[in-house]
Symmetry: C3
Subunit: 344 residues, 3 copies
């Protein structure tokens, strides 16, 4: 692609020869004269200056004198677009593969693709241009919106609903039973889980993610929320819009999470909590009580990060405390026995 | 269903008009006049009194004056039964789907259902009324008891055995190799894993749970134990009866767990340990040594919870300790230099 | 098998009657006269002496007087070989199962086996004697080397490469998208992930493991590395050779790990780090900064283990500190008011 055309499509200002072409996006250290690269973290500025890349996406051209630069206010977003332009995704062939098993009354939208050995149950509705990958299993009355991409081997159980433009990676399970038992005399009697899961528009779920159906009502993941691999979302959880749940996070039953909240990797929340908007939960942390909007919490149990820092610093300096105490004991001993001290 | 009939089937005492009917179970805040709701946590009593529910399951009627109440000793168990009555599960069609691949010598019990694209290997035995969901793969000589429900895409590898009335959720893997290597000169030589997994009766395994086969002998999960999503059970582990392993728990190789023990979410145990009966391991905790019966342990490493509480409280109060120490240092300085102090 | 033949094949020295035969390998407590057992941990020496096993693999015969012993320098490695000899794996039938869906231009090596309902996409190359289990899905242009074993329901997405002699357990997902978003005004725009995953030779990946494709370039797992169940490897991660990643570990994006490094269960590393060779990361630990070669780190955040031990010990002894402080305060009070003290 000609650089001028690329700049136009990215909304970038081109510094350099617009007739030059690039064919791929590559990292700074791997890029050659036919590649576009990018600088969005200033600490890589020297690497960018030394790069052999034919052109570089960057916030400004000043740090890259003499280089061909596509200047843009949001270089990382421009990078996302550039990758999409130079490395377009391969489309799945529309239509139902002959080995797929699709119920007679399922409604398949125009241009949708149902892959080999996929199973689409009775009463399902698949929106236009959605891709149901090989080996996926959709139960009864499942709804999938338009333009979704279900990678191979996704399971969506009975009655669950997926919005439009969602991406579900391989091994995702939506609508497994919530973990609910009435324990009487040591026997765990199953509480039937008859609610559903609703995945709103523009959600992405990573590989092998599990989202349990509600006992009654809905487990819900809000629009634009992105969930990384191996995350567990329990029954009746409500996740707001634009949240980020990083890999191996676990959210316990009935907890509600506001909008634009981040759970870093391997963190978790206990059940029946309310976690506000724009909260950040640090990696490995465990939330045991409600968290107000905008708070940054870390630790087990999670508390405001500044408290955690203080406690942790104190723990590292216990030695100093112990030394000060020893010196003091010595001083007091001398004070208590002045005649002895005088003898020396 | 008429309320009197419902009360009879639940063993509840009806306070109110038995001719009224309910059609669904709904939470207190969502229930309408045609719905049954429930009060099993006293903190929701006010919400229950304000609910529009046609009838309420509760331990007693006194907190709900003027309301139609189904009084029962175990309202949560009654709720489980009521959901089953008012929201009956949809049965899978019995028989072998034409796209399933079933070995000639596999024995399929009466009324069992083998779903689309499921694979049942040579020598398998599937008990009566069991459901093998779409895309499940059972290896060679796998045994599944009666009345089991294997959701889509469960894998049970060669020689493993599943009892009766078990529920295996989508993505479960039973009988993957244990993680065993003989490391010599930095090379990890695989120790073949030739044991099996035995899942006893009435066990439930959550979505994407992994249970490794034993090196030799058996990995075993005891009767009535319930395992939540994304749990890892390593080779040769023995889990007792009636245990609860909450989401994302990991149990390392050869550890034995007694009966009615609970591992809360994201906790784990090291290998070759013995964890007793009725133990509770707190969320996120890591058990590194044996735990006696009835103990409640938390933390990394896990210790009795009261010790953890004390250590954690101490950590939070380090500031006070530091302040007391500072005041004391000041006092001792004054005592050591009385003439100076006298001058002031 | 005759003991003399077994000894010869294991490179062991036989102490006892070489004409005796054994038919199986069993643990010390379960073995009978027709079984081979093993002693590689000295703490089980008494159990070995009491065992009914027909023969025992051990490092020396002195601790087992009067017993039939196969003496070998590496008894655990010999055990691995003995299990392989006495419990040989059952071979999968070579050829393509009639229900498999294999693209016309896929190249399937001699003796390879493609199981029921497996899907092999266009441009794939499967090496000789490799087994692609039931329900596996290989995307476009996937390469699998020779002698691999893909258990049922493995997914390898477009363009990813698996070396020779790899074992991928059920539910593994290779090549899911990395978790990368350009967030502008609260909206998370997907950064297309167009790199690949390279799994080198002799790697084993446990059940339901996820390995994300690189944004650009490669995510790579080095030769001979063994990965346990439910591990998450993010985009652009580079894992060296001969590493051990135990169950439920998570490695964040762009982190590089050297050779022969161990991550114990449920530990994790943040992104963009460099973790050296022969590092050991303790269970449940969280690595937030680079770790030099050979270090043993534990805790959240992870630090050298000796520091962690010291901090933890200090925390356990806070009570003593508090008591010493109290006694000192009392002493200083007496010193500050001597006349009062004199009155008593």
């Amino acid at each position: 692609m000609r650089l001028q055309e690329l700049a136009d499509r990215l909304g970038a200002t081109l510094i350099g020869d617009g007739e030059r072409t690039v064919v791929a996006v590559r990292p700074l250290d791997a890029a050659g004269p036919d590649d576009l690269s990018f600088l969005h973290n200033p600490k890589y500025a020297a690497q960018a200056r030394a790069s052999r890349a034919g052109a570089i996406l960057a916030r400004d051209a000043e740090t890259l004198p003499g280089r061909v630069v596509l200047v843009c206010a949001e270089p990382y977003l421009a990078l996302a677009k550039a990758i999409g332009l130079l490395h377009p995704a391969e489309a799945a062939a529309p239509g139902v593969h002959p080995t797929a098993v699709v119920a007679d009354d399922a409604v398949i939208g125009a241009g949708a693709s149902i892959g080999p050995c996929a199973v689409v149950g009775p009463g399902c509705r698949i929106g236009g241009r959605s891709v149901i990958g090989a080996g996926c299993v959709l139960g009864r009355r499942v709804e999938v919106g338009e333009g979704c991409l279900l990678h191979p081997r996704v399971v969506v159980e009975d009655g669950c609903r997926v919005g439009s433009r969602c991406i579900l990676h391989a091994g995702v399970v939506i609508g497994s039973d919530g973990y609910g038992f009435a324990t009487v005399a040591g026997v765990h009697h199953k509480v039937p889980q008859v609610g559903i899961v609703v995945i709103e528009d523009d959600v992405e779920l990573g590989a092998n993610v599990c989202v349990d159906r509600a006992t009654l009502g809905e487990t819900r993941i809000g629009r634009g929320t992105k969930v990384d691999n191996l995350v567990q979302i329990a029954h009746n959880v409500q996740v707001g819009e634009g949240c980020l749940l990083v890999a191996q996070v676990g959210i316990s039953g009935s907890t509600t999470i506001g909008h634009h909240t981040v759970f870093a990797g391997q963190s978790g929340a206990a059940g029946h909590l309310h976690i506000g908007d724009r909260v950040v939960v640090g990696a490995k942390s465990a939330v045991y009580k409600d968290v107000p909007d905008g708070e940054f919490v870390t630790g087990i149990p999670a508390r405001p990060h500044r408290e955690w820092l203080k406690a942790n610093a104190g723990l590292q300096r216990l030695d100093q405390l112990r030394e000060r105490l020893g010196r003091l004991e010595e001083a007091v001993r001398r004070l208590e026995a002045p005649e002895e001290g005088g003898d020396q």
